[in-house]
Symmetry: C2
Subunit: 367 residues, 2 copies
């Protein structure tokens, strides 16, 4: 990985600490990285058809050469793979193949594969190690770091899950070269989020380099991706189970989730909903007196330049209300709202749901 | 609880420490005990029809008086409740009722309810607090302590699960008075196990008092149940996730699980299978030179006096082989066999599965 020049990062979680390694060689280094931390033996390799077609043969051969017996489990594409039923099916395959407590799970794919396979690792025989190999920008900068795993319930996304830290995250930037442009842009929303909540310099760099980043210039992307992981790792290390600080990672997600919920999770990609959510939450932040208009303008502009939607659909008030009340982060009638105070800085405000909706109303009326 | 004269016990697990409280007043003290540790609000009360009929009205009223909004979820009786499907249904009810991350789960019932509801608490919105209220002897001395939760898979029992420590275990001995005698005896198997693995004095006390215990003499039972919890708590505190010492709790369970597996989990209660497993594992311990015949004889005698079966069914060698290989505790071709060395003392021997089966063969031929 010397050529990439990006040092590994360590996520500090006491006895659950683990490294994030960076590479750009079509996963050629993955089998060795796995062999360094796991004993040879049976291993579940969870992936989907699109990713598997591209990378599986080499990864599987490499693992076999190092004494592993990889069981490949392919799961459906997209959110429909994130169900308890699919998790049970994956576990059934693992049991049938004789995997035991000394086995591990490798999640090779985007956020869906990572969430599902991570959850399987969390509940298979009450927990086995997991290696995350994120192949989308969204997964590389966000979902593979932090140990959140889970599946959806008919009533909403990620309502069933577990905190299960991986033993290793192996991030290969070359996998981004074949990512559909819309997926890449969606991942950029979480990059922007990281900058808004914690790092004004990173934000300025995005303003300067966004065209190069969208062209998957690996040299430009590598330090950005590492910095996003570092920000997330710091926040997670300070608050593993989301008792406080970790909530800042939800910037853009309160309204983002509501938008996804109200459009049936079909119209927008997660990152697109987060992009609209960030702009709207910045507006509400200004509305409740937390920041000025320049902050909102910069956020809206970078969102647009990343090719992401900036304006939320025009839902009715009761729809917003219903969706916000369905938020997992709501506790009774309060919600931890992440307000921007300046670029690189946010504050968690415990807002009554009614006050949040009132601010949203005023914002909508002014448009 | 002064009348019962049994002090609470603390399970020491750092920030996951929790108390086990003992009472004998038909759960009259439960609502107060819950109110002392959980904020008022919505609460899932998971139980089954038989237990619910007897205790639910008073518990529910008591909780309501203290500001809780209990959602009662009744699950089927027996092992068939322990599936991902039932867990998903319980979670669906909780979501529909608006329970959120500030809510908790109360498991009111035997081991099945405790395992299922504990697992639901572990995976609902990535984990909420759980209160275990065990109403069978087996659950009171064993399954409610230690944080193991889970459901079954078509391929075997408890293959899906999580470690999720409760916030409180509330053990009311008066619930044992209405327990069917066969259930009570089955629970006694885990009491015997606790004595064999850790406490020769407890074993001698069982030899003296077993008739009183089987009559549910609460004064005699209370210190015994507390001591069993203490033994389990000590072992779990030393080794929460079963890396080493905790394996001693599996005494009687290697063959016990095999017997359950080979009889389709229908013929014998878990405790009955463990009773046969303990006698057989004691015999194998003697066979591999770990203890003398007197130890085996005392174990076999107390099992018989508790009204439990002592002789395992006569399965064929390949059936034993298949069942032992299916054991969750197997790692590759080795199994951590819990050998008795004397009453009150065991040792974990890493045995090749073939050696274990050979010892079993010799034992069977000698009979």
């Amino acid at each position: 990985m010397g050529d990439l020049g990006v040092k590994p990062l360590r996520v500090e979680l006491g006895e659950r600490s683990y490294p994030i390694r960076f590479a750009a060689d079509r996963l050629a280094g993955l089998p060795d990285a796995i062999a360094r931390i796991l004993p040879a033996g049976p291993l579940a390799l969870v992936t989907n058809a699109a990713v598997g077609r591209r990378y599986l043969p080499a990864v599987r051969d490499g693992l076999r050469e190092r004494g592993f017996a990889p069981l490949v489990v392919s799961v459906p594409d997209g959110e429909r793979a994130k169900t308890l039923r699919v998790a049970e099916r994956v576990i059934g395959r693992m049991l049938a193949a004789g995997l035991d407590r000394s086995s591990a799970v490798v999640a090779l794919g985007g956020g869906v594969v990572g969430d599902l396979a991570g959850f399987v690792a969390a509940i298979f025989l009450r927990g086995v190690p997991c290696v995350q190999v994120p192949t989308t920008l969204l997964a590389q900068v966000d979902s593979s770091v932090g140990g959140k795993t889970g599946v959806n319930h008919a009533r909403g996304k990620n309502l069933i899950g577990a905190f299960h830290q991986p033993s290793l995250v192996y991030t290969d930037l070359s996998t981004l070269r074949t990512l559909p442009p819309r997926e890449l842009r969606a991942g950029m929303a979480e990059v922007i989020k990281a900058a808004v909540i914690r790092d004004a310099r990173l934000f300025a760099r995005l303003e300067r380099d966004i065209p190069r980043l969208l062209r998957v210039d690996v040299a430009a992307l590598a330090p950005i991706i590492r910095r996003c992981c570092e920000i997330k790792a710091e926040v997670v290390a300070a608050d593993e189970r989301e008792a406080g600080l970790r909530a800042i990672l939800n910037f853009g997600h309160t309204f983002g989730h509501a938008i996804e919920n109200l459009t049936g999770y079909r119209r927008h990609k997660h990152g697109e909903a987060v992009a609209m959510g960030m702009v709207l939450e910045a507006r509400v932040s200004r509305r409740i007196g937390m920041c000025g208009g320049a902050v909102v303008a910069r956020i809206e502009q970078i969102v647009r330049r990343a090719g992401l939607p900036a304006r939320a659909p025009a839902f009715r008030r009761d729809a917003w209300r219903r969706a916000v009340l369905a938020d997992k982060k709501r506790r009774a009638d309060k919600i931890a709202f992440v307000a921007v105070t300046e670029i690189g800085r946010v504050r968690i405000e415990s807002l009554a749901v009614t006050d949040l909706l009132a601010a949203l109303d005023r914002e909508r009326e002014s448009r």
